[in-house]
Amino acid sequence: MKKRKKVNIPVLAGSLIIGFFVIIAIIAPAIVPYDPSATSALTYGKPSPEHLLGTNDVGQDIFSELIYGTRISMVIGIFAAVVVTCVGTLLALLSAWYGGVVDKLITGLTNLAMAVPGLALTTLLVCYLSPGILSIVVAISITAWTGTTRVLRSQILALKEEPFVKIEKAIGQRDIVIMGKHLLSNLKDIILSRGAMAVSSAMMTEASLSFLGLGAFGEKSWGAILHYAFFRNGVVRGLYWWYLPPILCTSLAVLGFMLVGYYGQQKR
């Protein structure tokens, strides 16, 4: 009798959430009812059939802003996560495999980077680099690689002592082949999990920076929607249709990546 494979519910739920947002981001131009930058005379409009989530202080349709915001948040989140994961993995490989001075240098750098408050440093970097998507990605990448490096380094140190790695080394296999063929293949679950966690972290950072007003001019991200909702006193005036949707979207998307990242690396 064939054994039924157990479904990892949290990962499935996370994947569905991520899939939903990815699809929204891809088809955004086709489903937005209005150009998110188009202004209108209807300012602070309440939700209505014409404007599902109402309008903001310059009459822009909040639902359209939210849909387009998915693109910005997902692009920054995924792009930054790819960079962070690649950098973190590369440094972990170099550090653990070569040891000695290289290890000390990278470990020291990691400890130093971890000692600096991430968001504060990212904010400084964005200010220095001038606001924009690329600046945010660069700033996040510079500050967020440390966790991945530390986790992977300890795993690689353990793998280094495994017989199959020692044998490869003994027969004179090239380092790059051992790293690619044996180490990375054994770490792929952890790398993917760390990558998923990095996306959620990057999305949160992006939302924080945009909320602080460090996004690019006219950018329609979830953090930017929230920024203007606060700036135009939407929160104290109870305009929940303006400030709640970006909060919910950010939370849900982050939850999706967290579910995949956290439960994805646990044994089923």
């Binding site: 930058s37 005379a41 300012t43 202080d57 310059v58 606001p131 001019f217 700036f231």
Partner: protein, 570 residues
């Protein structure tokens, strides 16, 4: 025996306690009692009903309560001194824009506009108890000219006493009216015994020792708590320049933001709000939940405005400027800036609350079809059929919009979003260069170089009072000064325009000022070198349940030069 000793000891303790209670009076109550006695004594001789003094007026602000420097213009101490608080300014301006005596108890300008004769109060005292003397007056003018390098005193010739309580100031040019109506309302006497140590240095700007706050205004700084962001002041009855001081003491509390101010007003924690040129945001007025809170609405003298880059291909063309004003959604701009409390401006830039307002100029209105027609006729056509117009010579047209870098950057950015969308509707490609608005230095260097097609700026109520919005359109420096002078943000090089702005700022009489500013409004309407984006109301809310006699001065609110003498308890 033991019982008798106990009784004796108790009696001594009780006596001591009563004696202690009798002596334990706070500075606030002492000041209040003293003033009330004065009021009662005055009443006996004049026969008028005694004024019920306000014991302690609590003012809320969002400006920091950290530095207390009589010359300073930052923090709430510097800002509230604009309205004759701890500093006695030379004169003040009333609601009609007329100059009224303050430290100068009377003043007269000579016919040629070069000489000012004035009288001053010999009874005035400094807050540290020293008497105000002629030496202080003489020192202040020398200090302003030689140390502070105030541009108002470039042509100052002499300051001389003409009697025990009178003096004369002589200029080589007719600068008296310009100085009085310009900076004299926000500038006052400095104590020689404190400030003489700074002659010839810049150190006075950052001076923060306790005597830095010594002034001869109607109030003195008693104490402050920087951590709690609170400062306390008491009246100096001798310095009653404008009559009997009816507010005995003042507490100024700094709050994190305007939302907190509104909550504090509703809760009765503060009596009124003051912040220079920073009225409560119109979107917060809905938060008033107590009927005793008056929103303090008045017409604002300042405004948001745009300046066209008159030295660049698009901005130098009147037809383009006209088309832009036709394309703009004026109602949306007024709503976005004024939160529904404003009106679409007219073409003369300055609002009706400014001195010399010229009535009857055309009011702006959106007309997209007309904008398209004007652009078509002027040759701005979509040559390559991409939906975007090109310059008449066929080259690519991209309109650079530069919002002013400031604390209110978010609002300027929102205005820019509206302009970009409005221009897009008539086929004009406009954009904001992120690199220009990263810092005030980068922004200003671009503005001074004329690197913009449309600049979005702002005139504060203080600037609007005399200097006016036209100062921001000037290209030529003040005659006799260098081109590198600050605030030369305009690109309108027309000689008559530039000379008229400087003539207005140096007007020797109110008539000359009005004549100049009216010419400038007409010029703005005729050439459209710039325009206001909205004329809005402003809000300085206050509570009406405890006190009466509030006077809500337009653009300034209830905390103004007259408050200290008019407010009484109910």
């Amino acid at each position: 025996m033991k019982r008798a000793l106990c009784l004796l000891l108790s009696a001594v303790l009780l006596l001591g306690l009563f004696a202690g209670c009798g002596k334990q009076t706070t500075p606030e109550t002492t000041a209040a009692a003293g003033t009330e006695t004065t009021a009662a004594a005055e009443t006996e001789t004049t026969g008028e009903a005694p004024k019920k003094h306000v014991k302690n007026l609590v003012i809320g602000t969002t400006t920091a309560n950290t530095t207390f420097n009589l010359y300073g213009q930052t923090d709430i101490f510097g800002r509230i001194n604009y309205v004759n608080f701890c500093r006695a300014n030379w004169i003040y301006e009333d609601e009609n824009g007329d100059l009224q005596p303050f430290f100068f108890t009377s003043f007269e300008i000579s016919e040629d506009g070069k000489v000012l004769d004035f009288t001053w109060p010999t009874t005035a005292v400094w807050s540290d108890g020293e008497k105000v003397t002629w030496d202080d007056i003489d020192f202040t003018f020398r200090f302003l000219k030689d140390t502070a390098k105030s541009s108002s005193f470039i042509h100052l010739v002499s300051v001389e006493p003409t009697g025990d309580d009178s003096g004369r100031i002589t200029f080589s040019e007719p600068d008296v009216y310009g100085w009085l109506s310009g900076s004299a309302t926000m500038q006052g006497l400095l104590p020689k015994h404190v400030w003489e140590k700074f002659e010839g240095t810049d150190d006075y700007k950052n001076y923060t020792e306790p005597d830095a706050a010594v002034g001869c205004g109607p109030y003195k700084l008693v104490s402050y708590d920087v951590d709690a962001q609170v400062s306390y002041y008491e009246a100096i009855p001798e310095n009653n320049y404008h009559g009997e001081i009816t507010v005995d003491s003042v507490t100024i509390k700094t709050y994190a933001d305007q939302t907190a101010i509104m909550m504090a007003l509703n809760a009765g924690e503060i009596d009124c709000y003051y912040a220079y040129s920073t009225p409560i945001d119109a979107t917060l007025i809905d938060l008033i939940s107590d009927s005793a809170v008056d929103p303090g609405e008045s017409i604002y003298a300042g405004e948001d405005q745009i300046t066209f880059g008159m030295t660049r291909p698009a901005g130098s063309d009147y037809q383009f400027r006209l088309a832009v004003t036709k394309a703009m959604d004026w109602n949306l701009l007024t709503d976005a800036i004024g939160g529904g409390y404003g009106e679409v401006p007219r073409a003369g830039i300055i609002p009706p609350s400014c001195t010399g307002y010229l009535d009857g100029l055309p009011q702006f209105a959106q007309d997209v079809d007309e904008a398209n027609r004007i652009l078509d006729e002027a040759g701005y056509k979509d040559v390559n059929n991409d939906g975007i117009r090109e310059f008449p010579d066929g080259s690519e047209m991209k309109i650079l919009i530069v919002p002013q870098y400031s604390k209110k950057m978010d609002l300027r950015n929102r205005i820019a979003e509206v302009l970009i969308d409005n221009l897009k509707a008539v086929g004009v490609n406009a954009y904001v260069d992120q690199e220009i608005i990263v810092s005030s230095e980068v922004w200003e260097s671009n503005i001074q170089a004329g690197n913009y097609d449309i600049a979005i700026g702002y005139t504060t109520a203080g600037m609007a009072r005399h200097t006016s919005a036209f100062r921001y359109y000037v290209y030529e420096p003040k005659p006799g000064t260098e081109r590198s002078a600050s605030w030369l943000w305009g690109t309108y090089t027309d000689e008559e325009f530039n000379s008229t702005v400087w003539r207005m700022l140096n007007a020797s009489s109110r008539e000359e000022y009005v004549s100049c500013i009216q010419w400038l409004q007409q010029e703005a309407a005729d050439t459209l070198f710039g325009c206001a984006l909205s004329w809005t109301s402003c809000f300085y809310p206050y509570r009406t349940d405890k006190y009466e006699g509030w006077y809500n001065r337009p653009s300034w609110g209830v905390v103004n030069d007259e408050l200290w003498y008019s407010l009484t308890s109910k």
